[in-house]
Amino acid sequence: MATQTQVIVNPARQRGWLDHVQDWVTTVDHKKIGLMYIGYALIFLVIAGFEAILMRIQLLVPNNHFVSPQDFNRLFTMHGTTMVFFVGMPILFGFGNYLVPLMIGARDMAFPRLNAFSFWVSAFGGLLLYFSYFAGSGLYGAGTAPDVGWFAYAPLTARVFSPGHSTDYWTLSIFISGIGSIGTALNIVATTLCMRCPGMKLSRMPLLVWLYLVTSGLVFVTISPLTAAQIMLCIDRYLGGHFFDTQAGGSAVLWMHFFWIFGHPEVYVLVLPAFAFANEIIPVFSRKAIFGYPAMVAASVGIGFVSLSVWAHHMFTVGMGPGPNAFFTFSTMVISVPTGIKIFNWLATLWGGNIHLTTPMKFAIGFLFQFLIAGLTGIMLSVSPFDWQLGNSYFVVAHFHYVLVGAILFMIFAAFYYWYPKMTGRMLSDKLGSWHFWLFLIGFHLTFDFMHIPGLEGMPRRIYTYEADRGWTLLNQIVSSGAVFQAIATLIFVWNMVVSYFKGEKAGPDPWDAWTLEWSTSSPPPSYNFATLPVVESRRPLWDRKHPEEPDAQYE
């Protein structure tokens, strides 16, 4: 295969840096686009992480003057918006872009040009959001970056409460990145349904691909109401509409419904890919097939459907009346059943295995443990009367960071350590990886375990400062101290990626002795992925190849 690559590139011509830039800007290769998604998300991860650290410094002592209230409100708005739309979505789409075609034995996505378009549109959305820091004041001189919170409740977004253009940058950047998200989702659905290699029936598809299919389906359904709401908000702000303008009879609650019918499935859009990584990594390092493949597929599809009926659990304190409160309590609790099935199936996969605690596996175990806790605090929040106390407090902040950091980010780190060898041809350092894992684990638990308690003591979220007599000071200092560990660990991770790219151990095509198709081609894969399309007969084609005496097909 390597020799074929040599033929394509003319070795006689010296390639300058501009040629490389042109390669990347004009590429329609799913792997390059995937890597660009990931790189772009990592840059925003560092920016939004920095914003979090500024907030934690501000909250170190009561009545601190480190940042102004206005700046603090911009910080949490930008942190949340960036992390959800410009870190979470692109990094997961990046891995999906890279892995889905490889794992189903395809040579590219179904629509390579749409793929490139989606990436560049999303990337533009992120730049537009941050451009608000320079241009948000417009002619009004009021506000720079948006300061309406990441769910931008009406009527705070009305022109009377948000003069200037900062809210418009928020609206338009999300609108634009939504176009990219829908494009990529469409692409993933078409790819999985139409481009699978011979022999790969839906029932033989790797679980990662299944989960990306469900995620993409959810993106379809949920980005649409969000986009509609953004357009309505623009009409309110510029064309005299009154959808959400309460001063003219509009409805603030309508915005909440629009936002959360997007917002809650969005949580699953972010967490299902994390499940996807776990479904690949846990079996390989337990050296066992995934336990209960059909149940895992059913649970994933089930979560996808049920997640569309739980949105108003974000609105238990809005005054919905007992009927809706009871309904959304029930639907939210129901989602814990398929989620529980997943956790138990992962445990059963570990059970009886031969568990190798490599760096990706360490992160995956961290994910399992933390996702368990996040799920349990989720059950507490689903109990609507309990939510009347916990909602909008620091307990909720701790809960969803447990999901987003403790589960999703841990699994993203695991995915980096697992697939970096495939993407670059070099292993990440296990020693640095160990430092990264343990420091991040300590930092994570210092920050987010202790963050639950001020919420139980009455500390609401989104306050730029707090009163000295409430007894929240020590807890906030512990929470802030954890951020230091997490920051150092992240720097180690970045350092590991840079150093290993040049000096890492050579990976070879299949460093983990794994079973899915991406490990059957070279690392990094050639631009066409497979010289000849693979033919599969089971869910683990490489297992069959390595164990011809006992192929999976006999047992499935």
């Binding site: 209960g292 493949y293 304190t317 349990l376 109990v383 309990f386 009163e467 164990h547």
Partner: protein, 358 residues
Amino acid sequence: MLVSLQLLAVSPDIARTAHAFPSRAAHWVSHVGLRFSSLIFDQPAGSIFAPQATPARSIFSLSLLVLGICTVIFLIVAGLLLFTLIRYRHRRGYTQREPAQIYGSTQIELSWTVIPILIVVVLFLATARVIFVTQTAAKPSNALDVVVIGHQYWWEYRYPKLGVVTANELHIPISDTKQPRPTYLTMLSADTDHSFWVPRLAGKMDLIPNKVNTMWIDPEKPGLYLGQCAQYCGVQHAKMLIRVYAQSPADFEAWIKQQQLTAAQDVNVAHGRAVFEGNACANCHTISGTTAHGAFGPNLSHLASRDTIASGAVPNNAQNLRAFIDDPAHFKPGVLMPAMHLTDHDLDAVTQYLLTLH
């Protein structure tokens, strides 16, 4: 771990009796438990685990059930995970090429589908009961009605049947178990979304423009209950503090009588009153018996009877009051009250005048 610590924290008595055990481990555990319970309990703001009114108490009992179930689930699953990791981790002497491949088991999978469903049903029924009991409680005829209006960064309290309008410090009577007298709050908003949250009395309820919400509270013990706005409402969301004064019936009646009086008229501070009425102060604030009828800002008819100013941000005294009038953004950057640029003389006069408004 966190969940179990919380459980320890909510039962300080258990933690204290643990002192009786001789072992050092038990002593250490009880020490940690006490530290955590002191973190949660010894605060005037109070935690959701120290309820002082019926709504907060029924949530508290329900939360104990939920915490209990969650703790049991946590211990079982985390224990299994830990055991599996220790028992099945790779060892050097491992000779098999690969462990036995197990693809699934319908019976086992069915059991961990059905058991969670049963737990969900139990939890849901317990929850539904509290939802309906709290939200559909019949309103007694002697209940006190208060209209709560959220404004950007302060609270307006109106007692429609008593003709009292005040701000930021809510006074209500305590409610006896023998003779219940709950306070029913009708929640409105003048601008953006807000949320009324006093953890020891009840869960929070949002104040949303164009929507009327209600909630009720019935504190049993006299005292000051603290809370704050729990829905992001703009720049000064953090300094939109709530103070609820639960008073004995006699004290409450006395307070109402005082608030119903026309604002004090003291000739010694006539100049200060003239400054107030002659400046834009009168456009936003009301002081009964004067020409000031503004409705954008807090009613100041009995300002001097309040403990705090600026929605609980600072104590109400001459120094703070003067500083606030001079530059409201000094205590609350982003507050909607503008600096009036009064001369030092007028500033002193208007401060003196406001201090007479008992």
